[in-house]
Assembly symmetry: C2
Homo-oligomer: 221 residues x 2
């Protein structure tokens, strides 16, 4: 949902978009199937899926065989880092995007992180984005030659409800997007994990039902 909305924001701003997705051992690879359909649907000129060595990202509820809790775990309620934290994930994603941006001659990286809903993730905070920007300003040939790459995180301070509202305005078809950490074998959302709960709440706050598929229709409301 966030990545798709960011894609549409970048397009609205006139950018030619090169989409990057990552396979890092996440259990919910369904999101990569969704990403392909969304990129095609949006007419993205290039979408590549980067496979990463899963040995680097072990120990998360997203990459391990442990099942995501059905409801928010208590440690998430208190602002601690959720079990779905993946080691240094956004740092790896952004560093690869930085390399790729230099290869294709782009100077803008759009990333759908936001700090409000998931305040427990260290690599979703404004100060983290600032630190990556400072690194990027030193790290590449393009930066040294006066053309640094900008890290753009337009959702950083938006709530899920605001993200959905913005996306709808831009024509995003949220029925294609996948957020659930624990989909069933048909790829349908569980309606109970953190990602589902935040998403459903966002649609409710917009006075809508979520158009995505859930394992039971009751869960959508």
């Amino acid at each position: 949902m966030d990545s798709t909305t960011v894609l549409y924001i970048a397009r609205e701003e006139g950018f030619r978009t090169y989409a990057l997705s990552f396979q890092y051992g996440q259990q919910h690879t369904r999101e990569l199937e969704s990403a392909k359909v969304i990129a095609e649907n949006a007419g993205v000129p290039s979408h590549i899926i980067i496979s990463l060595d899963a040995r680097l990202f072990e120990g998360s509820a997203l990459t391990g065989h442990s099942i995501v809790p059905e409801n928010r775990a208590p440690d998430e309620m208190t602002g601690k880092i959720p079990s779905t934290y993946v080691p240094a994930r956004n740092t790896v994603f952004l560093s690869m995007a930085l390399a790729y941006s230099e290869v294709i001659g782009s100077h803008d990286i759009f990333i759908g992180i936001n700090s409000l809903d998931y305040s427990g993730y260290p690599d979703c905070r404004p100060e983290y984005v600032d630190a990556f920007q400072k690194l990027a300003d030193l790290a590449t040939r393009e930066a040294v030659e006066g053309n640094p790459t900008r890290i753009q995180a337009p959702l950083l301070n938006m709530t899920k409800a605001e993200i959905i509202s913005k996306g709808l305005e831009l024509g995003v078809d949220y029925s294609l997007t996948h957020s659930c950490y624990n989909p069933d074998r048909m790829g349908r959302a569980c309606g109970r994990c953190d990602a589902c709960i935040l998403r459903l709440q966002g649609f409710r706050q917009n006075g809508m039902e979520d158009p995505a598929l859930y394992s039971s229709r009751e869960l959508r409301k």
Copy 2:
């Protein structure tokens, strides 16, 4: 040479070492064969080779099919960025090491970058290492919980001659190390690329011949 020396420095300081090598589309994959032998020889408990998607690192003399110049290119003489610069390479390497360090419970990343000999690489400068440290201090669960990972670059301000001298003192067998960007089919060094020239000069300054294999014995001196 640099990575091996850093490995021996970390061991001397009492660290249990987990070695990481990267296959990123470099033409001189011979260095990965050397890395395996060196890790085994040093009794490293774990050595993994991470394969990266070569599409992210195109456009360098190291990853392309263009041949490395036989002698230093003029742009290197003047301190400009060499053609062997690989887009955001150290940022990608360090970010993956950061993820891995959290997975294995380590809090120290050793990297063999040095700023003197190759002053043209943006991601080999002290200010770059500082910026990555600041990022790492914000990026991970461990950092947020008060156990940040330290980026250790003990070769940062050493010359090649000093690196070799230190390595010899620690028992490094430099005949196993590979530096050449343009080895022949037997894996022997060319003696003419930047990496060879700096390496040979380092040995000369130590009053020695380089023990590595060159395509002609004459080149070693």
